[in-house]
Amino acid sequence: MFSYNFKYELKLLLRSKWIQLLSIILLLLFGFSAYNGKEKVIKREADITAAKNEVKENDQMMLQLLDSVEKGMQVSVSRWTIPTSPMVIGNYYPRVAAMQPQAMTFIATGQSDIFTHYVKPKVTGDDFALNFTEMTSPVQLLFGSFDLSFVIVYLLPLLIIAFSYNVLSSEKESGSLRLLASQPIRVQDWVSQKLFLRFFWLSLLIILSLCLTFLIFGIEWFSVFNSFLSLVAIILAYMLFWFALAFLVNLWVGDSAKNAISLLGLWVLFVLLAPSVLNQLSTTLYPMPSRTLMINEMRELKAEVSKKQDKILDNFLRDHPEYAINDTTQTRGFYHRYMASQQLVKQELNPVLTGYENQLQKQQAWLEKLKWISPAITVQESLNKMAGASTGDYEHFRKQVVDFAETWRSFLTPFLYNNKDFTQKDYSALPQFIFQPKPKSSQFVVSGILLIVSMLLFGVGFVLSKKVKEEMMLKPF
């Protein structure tokens, strides 16, 4: 039966123009979404390059100023911007800590429209107040990003529903099912074969469309072969899940209209409702401390410590005798007191910050556990991870930036407390931020689990359909 179904299903799909229509739709969707994704990547790269170029230009200016100062020449800049001061270097000549896009970044916007891709940590800045969030167009936030992950997670199930909702019911409605059922076959086997073949042809079209899209946009899929395979595997597993649902609905529901409504209901449940409910629950169960309150607390603390900065500085120097030994002039200025008090503010705020991070981690852990409720969440998260745009990826970047901010401060603080000037010679030793992408966890596991779930659904369909006599399938609506 399979070879005949294989041969004639293709003929029927070609003659009903399904294959042609799907090819055009997939190419348009993949092409447009990949174009959108690539545009974002290009803009991101351009932003980072512009920021780095600005740093380069500033550095040139800084080296010229240092050269002039070191040669004893007069410089026509304000006193507080002369780069011999380590605090001027730390605040006016920061490095760019950038999160470079990766080869597959274009497939999912993920968290990238919420978080920024580069920051310039300053020596007097507060780590938690680093501006990691980025305000984007409210219109874009309203409608979301039309990227490949949107096409895969949201639109692909709709195409599958349109392609499979009436596999059995159309035969029933046209009357050909009775003729089919009079052949020595099981209707359940026939339906599953028809759906498998539709899955096969749709998969083939998707793989071809993906390869073509990658080629058109200059992404050499063979150079990111593992990621490409991973992407294909997750798409196929997700598709199989929707075909398994279509199989169950075809066997049990009834006429084409009811099948379509039932499958659309499942789409709303898995793609829209489940992610929204989980998100609401996570914020209700693990509410985030107010960022405004945290900033207020910081300001109050700073106001408090500024009143007793001399005492704080004394305590600080007592704790850091190395600075006192090296400092021959014992000159103490604003920054000496500020940096010492900032250290104290940081220590005092540590519990609040830790609480903030802990709640975020609890939310993430909770969502991680419950993501399996909806394959749409699982697939979206996997695609975000593949694109390097997941919450985890941005958290990984944030931690690297915080570490770098500390390195930046630690490099310049000894200059400050030793009352040592920053010179041209020190320039090459300035710390540089090198972004390390989060190691990628294999998404084949997710595909495997989705595959098992889909197979279980097919299994349930086969087992329970034995109890549903063909009588049920053949009775008129």
Binding site: L12, R178, W190
Partner: protein, 238 residues
């Protein structure tokens, strides 16, 4: 070939078929007459294994339909009132597909021969079914039965809606099949066609087989009178 023993089907409080005992032998054409709801289609559905009997049993080629529904379908062919084939496939493709899924692999030459034997004109072989009349579709249905080498043919109102010529051609095809030893059970309203093609004729009412005749022993007029009497219609003077 076709045997039913006290075959009964009850839907909730309605008896659709009431202890039907029927025997159709190889080469026989048995026509079941009766009004709508008499139990003709229920009998065919039970023989096809589409529905489960409430009691009694049905046999096709000595195989119990309830026990071995899939096996029995290897020996039977079925032509419903409106034979719906795949409209976007040609006659050749439809025959190849339905024979193929039934386990019969046919060469193009065989397909052509079966379609020719079923009386379909040659220029229609490669045309899509969407362009076919009902009579032409019935011929493809007969070709499917021929290709399947069916021992039993179940027909549900096959001539309704056919013009007299097509109906006559269909009757001749049934004769041809009966000569090959096919046992045919045909549910119909068409008394004339039943008298023309049948070996035996049964009249059903309220799920029961009320009367049975040898077709050659009864005139069309008597058959009609018996039918009307069974249905308890008032006598009509022509």
């Amino acid at each position: 070939m076709i045997t039913t023993n006290n075959l009964t089907k009850i839907y909730k409080d309605q008896t659709a078929l009431d202890h039907l005992n029927l025997q159709v032998n190889a080469g026989e054409i048995y026509c079941l007459l009766g009004a709508n709801g008499a139990g003709k289609t229920t009998t065919i559905n039970l023989l096809l294994g589409f529905i489960e009997p409430t009691s009694g049993s049905a046999f096709i080629n000595d195989l119990d339909v309830s026990q071995k529904a899939k096996e029995t379908k290897k020996f039977l062919a079925y032509i419903p009132e409106n034979l719906m084939l795949y409209p976007s496939l040609t006659a050749v493709e439809n025959l190849d597909y339905f024979s193929g899924i039934a386990g019969k692999k046919l060469s193009k030459k065989n397909i052509f021969n079966f379609l020719k034997e079923a009386g379909l004109q040659e220029d229609a072989f490669e045309k899509r079914i969407a362009t076919f009349s009902k009579g032409m579709r019935q011929k493809v249905g007969i070709a499917i039965a021929l290709a399947k080498d069916a021992k039993v043919l179940l027909l549900d109102e096959p001539t309704s809606g056919l013009d007299p010529k097509a109906s006559n051609e269909f009757g001749q095809l049934l004769h041809k099949l009966s000569q090959k030893g096919v046992a045919t059970l045909m549910a119909t309203h068409d008394l004339f066609r039943a008298k023309e093609v049948a070996t035996r004729i049964g009249i059903m009412k309220d799920g029961q087989l009320k009367e049975e005749f040898i077709a050659k022993d009864i005139s069309l007029l008597n058959l009609e009178q018996n039918y009307l009497n069974t249905m308890e219609y008032k006598e009509v003077t022509l």
